[in-house]
Symmetry: C2
Subunit: 235 residues, 2 copies
Amino acid sequence: MSTYPPFAVAVDLAVFTIRDGALAVLLVERGEEPYAGSWALPGGFVEPDEDAEQAAWRELREETGMERFPGHLEQLKTYSAPDRDPRMRVVSVAHVALAPDLPEPSAGTDAADARWWVVDDLLEGRDDLDGPALAFDHRQILLDARERVRAKLEYTTLATEFVAEPFTLPELRRVYAAVWGAPPDLGNFRRKVLGTEGFVVPTDVRGQATEAGGRRALLYRRGPAQVVSPPMARG
Amino acid sequence: MSTYPPFAVAVDLAVFTIRDGALAVLLVERGEEPYAGSWALPGGFVEPDEDAEQAAWRELREETGMERFPGHLEQLKTYSAPDRDPRMRVVSVAHVALAPDLPEPSAGTDAADARWWVVDDLLEGRDDLDGPALAFDHRQILLDARERVRAKLEYTTLATEFVAEPFTLPELRRVYAAVWGAPPDLGNFRRKVLGTEGFVVPTDVRGQATEAGGRRALLYRRGPAQVVSPPMARG
DNA sequence: CCAAAAGTGTTCCGTATACACCCATGA
DNA sequence: TCATGGGTGTATACGGAACACTTTTGG
């Protein structure tokens, strides 16, 4: 029979939102060693009386400062390399969260600072100064998280988690544009969303016009549908 | 700053194969409390110098008695409910493994017995005697694992992991029939597999005829392709 | 009346679907 | 030559790709 080696179990969070037409992720600046001064995904240890998902919701509330986090949360993958944390053996259950555009976050208790970063600036290895290198194995976690989000937009209704209700179809289309890098074809997009029963439910209200004028778009709310079949076409 | 509560970290394995035209999973009969005499997914604790995936490969070799397990392994999900193990706080990183038809397994060191079970007999809640109830939260893990396999067959080439090389297309088609409950349309199936570059690579050899005669099918090997786009149609 | 943004329609074409039909083999 | 299983062909229709066009609103 094997021994029962002691581990610490943590959760790490890749919290995504759409800011200025780009996919953005919440990072915190670490105040303590190791990696003091580096930027990392928010996270923390799982408490004795909670499971990983509850720990993730708790961290989400703490880091965003919101009583009730208004978005989607799901488990991503568990990272367990023996040397991923130099202090001790830490296994991290990574999660992905999606939220509509949120206010600038405030620094948490154990973080020096917290802010949103454009994901592509962090991950695309361009030499001209972009985002900072990430602490621990968080670059890999962020890569996996972005891929999960990209894939799930194709065959689920998850895009609606990135917009606040009520929302317009052009708003929703800009979510796809931000995540995929290019907007889906306008006509095909509308036929897909409106043709998928339960994707969105229309209201009889129209949104505000922009400064420069233009037709005012109809407002919608999220519908009960979860999957889109066949998948939304990726530009 | 939070405390660092101690956890045990384990891996559990849902090892699938196709036996007699049905999806089957490997279970072990527990020899110790808790749940002594119950059937459970094979698994064990992660050692100090390995990550979860290495632990899963090790358990796979131990449980199947094979030096080199001839199949596919991937992480499924992590289960961490505080009361999932009555002895102590155990977090389990569940994995899914796929293998071609394997010999009857031998009982491992800490298991009283080990055998294959038809998955539907374990999961479909028919009242007439089927499979046994599973230990811990392993019924839920098995449900999630089956769903992962079903889904992945649609948009990946993973079905080839269920057959031993070289294999015929009818053999491969029977994999889909077993997992989905009904075979995909013959013509469409062939066009899909042969039309997806790198799904299979043909040999110039034909397989054996069955007792009752009939045309001998061409033999193929796995190709380098990983994804099938658009997905294989689910009956 | 013009620009900007929302929304509609239409043609083309690949391909999934469903099903009928032909080929090879052993008893 | 018949049953069995492997393999091929085809009419239909759905839906994505691309793009032109119409409608509504503010300046």
